[in-house]
Amino acid sequence: MSPRSRLALRLKTAIALLLCSAAAAAHNFHMGMADISYNPNTGGTEVVHTYTAHDVEALLGNLYQRQFDLSDADDQAVLKRYLEKRFYLTAEGRRLPLQLVGMQANADTLLIYQELPGTALPPDTALYNGMLTDFLPQQINTVNVGSGKQVRTLTFDAAHAEQRLR
């Protein structure tokens, strides 16, 4: 498939998903996203997560039975523990040292920035992604690996938590 038609297909899928979510019961539609790409300027691999703030607050709220403020540093540290348990990269049987760079909470979304400093992804890298899938069984996490024209899209859910990236 040519790059143009691949992009066109992705656009159509995205529009279909958008219409789906608007028409159907939106509250049953839980999505997360992670973009993994190599940054040639820093020489490291960056991961940018996007989740619905509402869902993350509900998850932490049901773990600790109190309200959380995702813009508060202490509360972010609690989410970091969950993140490190539910999202990690492995290569050659070892976990890659993914570091948390920061979090940014808006009214509706939560962005999480991670970095694998000084290295690109090894060829046999596998990703375990169970973000929110233990709390929301319908959660679907989309992962885009690569950038520009070399993007590979993977879908993770409760049943498919670990997949090879390449």
């Binding site: 019961a25 996203m33 049901n62």
Partner: protein
């Protein structure tokens, strides 16, 4: 960024619907109650807000509920005194307190109906406090007419904590708590453990020597809304008590303010519980089952009238109470989308509770039994079923309607055969609410509901007064309450949450505490009107202001008993209360809070001729953080060192050497200014 990502972000930016059952369930933990609460007076206090409060004793945690005053009338180990909505709730009647679905109110208790002893609660483990006032929820039954306070104990702590504190008046406390992740053959979970040891003497001439040991162990798996926990709790305490003293003896110098009359007063308490809860959340439904087994033991020696009844041996009496309480709560909620924007949540529930009680009343001297006034074995069983439906008609109208059916059975085996017997009663309690708005961040609430409190089983089957031998009238087992309320909640100013409630609450029989007998008595019908104004203002990230004002007018209603010259004021019923708190936390090492509490005057007799005075106390807290995990906290109680009463009663007593009985105010002083320093390490 690839276009796919942009579109995907657009999908995620769609606002999550407020009727999503996952988020509605923990909606109670959100600071804003707009769109969530069913009445203007309901709310939830988070762990962080609870931490910033200055608590002299664990029961005071409940003062986070606006309008509630918590006090103590003797010995620290006793259940606290509670005042709310114009009620002198004494030891907890008409305020339903639960800790994780376990009832804390003890019914048919030796010392007072609804005895609420929160000394087994470790404040650091409280994840939040949910409260509501008035009988407007079908899920709350016995003792919930003035309000309901629900303490949620955490399944997990975000960090482990070890603390050691010392203070004036013999205060010492040590705490260790953590919740490590554990792997078991049944899955991964969390094991929460906590151990607390405490000692306190108070300002009294004969120190309380209050010694407490508290332990909690909880294994939990999953989430609060989708998981389970099993918990074991153990509590043991002993104390001396300085009971209330007569004002006349303090005024003429016979007694110092912190003196006692009977140095052998005091007691001991134990509580052991095993409990568990399981919850499951589906796409459109939520189920919860919880069960508990609680063993409570109390030995209490009090002397309130000194040498009135027995000039030789004194009037000390013992009120032992040993019980095993077991129960089961189950509920199922299901959520439906109706056409358009409408949705409905229907909840059906079942609550079963059984109490197997051995209690009594003995006449004692220096804790040695002289004579048994009464001794009883009570089995009190109750079953309740409720159904509640909440409909969201549009973005500006929600209604709730519920009905609850309760059935009680009392079986009393008394040492006096004439006072043994069985009684049964049942009650149907409907309730309804309507919420209009929000418009301009303001909601209007209309609530109407019915509730009840049960009376002591012994009073429901009594025929002969065990002390005097005279004929004794029986009380109805279940007493109905009816309430109406109009409330407004607004967040019209950024950072300000205000609520105003106007209410009327009727009781078919008011439970009154008899200060001299140390017992509750089912009294006359009552009516109270009141207004509550609560404000929570956060004008900046570092500053929080709390202002709560409440005023209630409580009177007996209906015709007076024949020949009774008494008036219609309810003794001890609080009128005005107020709280002003300022909390400062700039995120840096320093943080602090100051809290001013106003406890208004109360009539002490039915004619309002004797009144207690008002009291104004100031408590403060200052904390300094050394790095991420070490904090030094300083707490000060009664900063202004005011000499006020924690409680006042008006009754007849006689001191040794007095030739005749005297009617007088008897009071228990609040603690003098005291400081405590605690070092807290989190790990």
């Amino acid at each position: 960024m690839p276009r796919f990502t942009i579109l995907a972000l657009a999908i995620l930016a769609l606002p999550a619907r407020a009727d999503d059952i996952q988020t509605v369930l923990i909606g109670g933990s959100r600071a804003s109650q707009l769109g969530v609460a069913d009445s203007a007076n309901a709310g939830s206090v988070s762990q962080q807000q609870l931490d910033q409060r200055v608590n002299y004793r664990p029961g005071e945690l409940l003062e986070a509920m606006p309008g509630l005053i918590v006090s103590q009338h003797s010995g620290e180990g006793k259940a606290n005194q509670f005042y709310l909505r114009g009620f002198n709730l004494d030891h907890g009647t008409d305020l339903r307190t639960t800790v994780d679905d376990m009832p804390v109110n003890q019914r048919s208790h030796a010392h007072g109906q609804g005895w609420t002893d929160l000394n087994f609660l470790i404040p650091e483990l409280a994840a939040r406090l949910d409260y509501q006032k008035g009988p407007y929820s079908a899920a709350n039954g016995d003792f919930a007419s003035a309000g309901a306070a629900s303490v949620v104990v955490a399944n997990r702590l975000t960090r482990g904590v070890a603390s050691a504190g010392v203070g004036q008046n013999g205060y010492r406390r040590a705490l260790l708590a953590d919740s490590p992740e554990v792997s078991t053959p049944w899955g991964d979970g969390s094991l929460l453990y906590a151990l607390e040891l405490m000692h306190n003497d108070g300002p009294f001439t004969r120190g309380d020597d209050y010694r407490k040991a508290n332990g909690v162990l909880r294994y939990s798996q999953g989430y609060a809304n989708n998981g389970f926990h099993i918990t074991a709790m153990a509590y043991h305490a002993t104390w001396n008590a300085t009971d209330q003293i007569p004002l006349r003896a303090v005024q003429d110098g016979r007694l110092g303010r912190y003196d006692n009359i009977d140095p052998s007063d005091g007691g001991g308490a134990r509580r052991y519980s095993l409990s568990g809860a399981w919850a499951r959340t589906g796409a459109d439904s939520y189920s919860r089952v919880s069960a508990y087994l609680i063993a409570n033991q109390l030995d209490l020696y009090s002397n309130f009238t000194y040498y009135l009844d027995d000039p030789l041996h004194g009037d000390q009496f013992a009120q032992p109470d040993r019980r095993v309480t077991s129960g089961l709560n189950a509920s199922h909620s299901w959520h439906q989308h109706l056409d358009g924007d409408r949705s409905s949540v229907t909840t059906a529930g079942l609550q079963l509770q059984n109490d197997n009680i051995h209690n009594g009343l003995y006449h004692t001297e220096a804790r040695q039994v002289l004579e048994i006034t009464r001794r009883d074995h009570i089995v009190e069983s109750s079953a309740a079923a409720y159904l509640q439906n909440a409909i969201r008609w549009s973005d500006s109208l929600r209604t709730t309607a519920g009905v609850r059916a309760d059935a009680y059975r009392f079986r009393v085996a008394s040492d006096l055969a004439a006072n043994s017997g069985n009684a049964r009663d049942h009650l149907l309690s409907p309730s309804t609410s309507a919420v209009l708005g929000p418009w301009a961040a303001t909601e209007v609430y209309l609530n109407a509901g019915t509730g009840f409190h049960s009376n002591d089983a012994r009073g429901a089957v009594i025929t002969v007064d065990p002390k005097t031998g005279a004929q004794a009238g029986r009380v109805t087992p279940l007493v109905r309450s009816r309430a109406l309320e109009l409330g407004v909640r607004s967040e019209w100013l950024p950072g300000l949450q205000s609520s105003l409630s106007l209410y009327r609450l009727d009781f078919d029989s008011e439970l009154v505490y008899l200060g001299d007998a140390g017992a509750t008595e089912a009294g006359r019908p009552s009516r109270r009107y009141g207004v509550e104004f609560s404000n929570y203002y956060k004008p900046a990230r570092w500053l929080t202001l709390d202002l709560d004002l409440a005023y209630a007018r409580a009177r007996y209603r209906g015709p007076l008993p024949e020949g009774d010259p008494a008036g219609d004021h309810i003794p001890g019923a609080v009128q005005g209360t107020g709280q002003l708190a300022v909390t400062v936390d700039a995120g840096g090492p320093w943080s602090g809070a100051l809290r001013l509490r106003y406890f208004g005057p109360r009539p002490l007799d039915e004619d309002n001729t004797v009144r207690s005075s008002a009291s104004l106390t100031l408590n403060g807290r200052l904390a300094y953080k050394f790095g991420k995990s070490l904090t030094l906290e300083l707490e000060a109680f009664n900063l202004a060192n005011r000499r006020a009463s924690a409680i006042d009663y008006y009754y007849t007593s006689r001191l040794k050497g007095e030739s005749a009985a005297v009617d007088d105010i008897h009071f228990h002083p609040i603690e003098s200014r005291s400081l405590r320093a605690t070092v807290v390490k989190t790990f």
